[in-house]
């Protein structure tokens, strides 16, 4: 780098530039928060959905699955599983409930979490709510 461009100029670009973009980012965060209710349908977040999210977290489902494309890539995307399972919470409950304790020989399989019926229903409601978030048409198709 040449001599007319000094260290203190570089320093000022760092502090000035960073501060500017931090402020822009905070502004955009506030704006995003303002318009989010139209896209996340928070009016449908019932106590059951909240419980479902907690069950989701406390069993570390994200350690195998992705949800809206984030998480692990070992097992199918679940952001749209409600739709993939024919818009049925019962199908989701049935699937989770029927996982074999000892797995499936030679194949990837989901653990048996021994959830109660109430917990299973809550989890399914959480996944149903998730599938209704406006994700700009992602995933590209039903296979997730």
């Amino acid at each position: 780098m040449n001599e007319t461009f000094t260290k203190s100029m570089a320093r000022n670009i760092f502090y000035g530039g960073s501060l500017f973009f931090i402020l822009v980012f905070i502004g955009l965060t506030l704006h995003t928060e303002r318009v989010l209710p139209e896209r996340d349908h928070r009016e449908n977040i019932t106590p059951e959905v909240i419980l479902g999210k907690k069950i989701w977290e406390e069993n570390n489902c994200i350690g195998c699955h992705s949800l809206l494309g984030e998480g692990a890539y070992f097992a199918p995307e679940l952001g749209n599983v409600y739709k993939r399972f024919g818009n049925s919470t019962a199908a989701i409950v049935g699937f989770i409930k029927s996982r074999p304790v000892e797995g499936i020989p030679g194949r990837r399989s989901m653990p048996q979490f021994n959830l109660t019926d109430e917990e299973l229903q809550a989890l399914a409601e959480f996944l149903k709510w998730t599938s209704e978030v406006n994700t700009s048409n992602w995933p590209p198709n039903i296979q997730g």
Binding site: F21, D40, N60, W129
Partner: protein, 473 residues
Amino acid sequence: MKFQSQSVAMPYFIAALGLFVGQIIFGLIMGLQYVVGDFLFPEIPFNVARMVHTNLLIVWLLFGFMGAAYYLVPEEAETELYSPKLAWILFWVFFIAGVLTVAGYLLVPYARLAELTGNDLLPTMGREFLEQPTITKAGIVIVALGFLFNLGMTVLRGRKTVVNTVLMIGLVGLAVMFLFSFYNPDNLVRDKFYWWYVVHLWVEGVWELILGAILAFVLIKTTGVDREVIEKWLYMIIAMALITGILGTGHHFYWIGTPEYWQWLGSIFSALEPIPFFMMTLFAFNMVNKRRRDHPNKAAVLWAMGTGVMAFLGAGVWGFLHTLAPVNYYTHGTQITASHGHMAFYGAYAMIVMSIISYAVPQMRGRIANCNRAQVMEMWGFWLMTVSMVFITLFLTGAGILQVWMQRYTDTPLPFMTVQDKIEIFYWLREAAGVVFLIGLVVYIKSFFTGSEQEAVEDYTKSITQRDYAAAE
């Protein structure tokens, strides 16, 4: 080593490398589970292995950053560390908390761990990379505060340098952004939004400052190039990092329910994020070309240049590959993401930690550099690990392209598991490359136990008699 207290870095580096080995073993377990689905099932389910793998990664990198800071801050400030005792206490607190947490993952079901650690009181668990029990997270904050206090006091009473300032800003930023891990809204969209404040603003924000500062320190020491020049580079690199990286967060806000203008903002700014990484490559190579001395620690110079190149490849090139919204629409959450995650974490952060270890550990052992035999072995470790990481990345990229092709970018999409079966061969190849990586890591660690003090001195004397070695460090 100029100050006695710098040696507290040693336990941090040892712990870092020990946990690194653990990380790779669990990586290999998962890699096998990808193809032999029932391997270790139900004893160690995939999600448990993954938590161990990724959390060990983060913890060993944090150990590495802390060790780097304890080593270089006193040297830059030209004063002893404020409190070596506090550094030792925090080491044990962090180490024990880390070991207990990993033991918890492995020994009890995760839901039970959540219950035992009172996740109900403040639920923060069960989110990728932030799986630690809330009390562990609180422990991390306490360790971070003590650590920053200790370094802050050292910086305040010593010489002020740009390297120290940038490192401190980076470390404070790391701690501040981590506080978002305590915020877990019931609304999944908002949860995800702020989750990225930790994850993205770490690796594509404040961690780049830490990376830049450590790289600058190693280059100052090994090349003897004028500080003014190096500091100017450092400022420009970190300026570009934050100018592009902060709004670049938008590349994670395409499909999680956030407004659509993020597709534009995220694409434009994150497309510029490779710039600071490219500058790091230029920085490392330029400084080495302009070197005023030939430092006998060749291995450290190799690590520093390697970091520049691999960080640019992994973060810059592999990041750019899938960062534009129209591309990310198809690649989001596929093996493409995993390929990039691996090379970026290894190339930028694992390698910078090994750079400072390579420079500092011989110094702490009272030698300017290791003997040639040990250095050659260390360089073998470097090449084995780095080349196998390139292959891991390529195989995952291959898997990812086919996955996108069969499952996403098609009118007749196949189910996830069907596609996984079809691309099995790539997972086998990845696992093979992973085994070579582990061999490289073992060779690397063995280099620390190779050669004696005396051999190091002999090789060094030989090298200074051979050429005119100016400023001895």
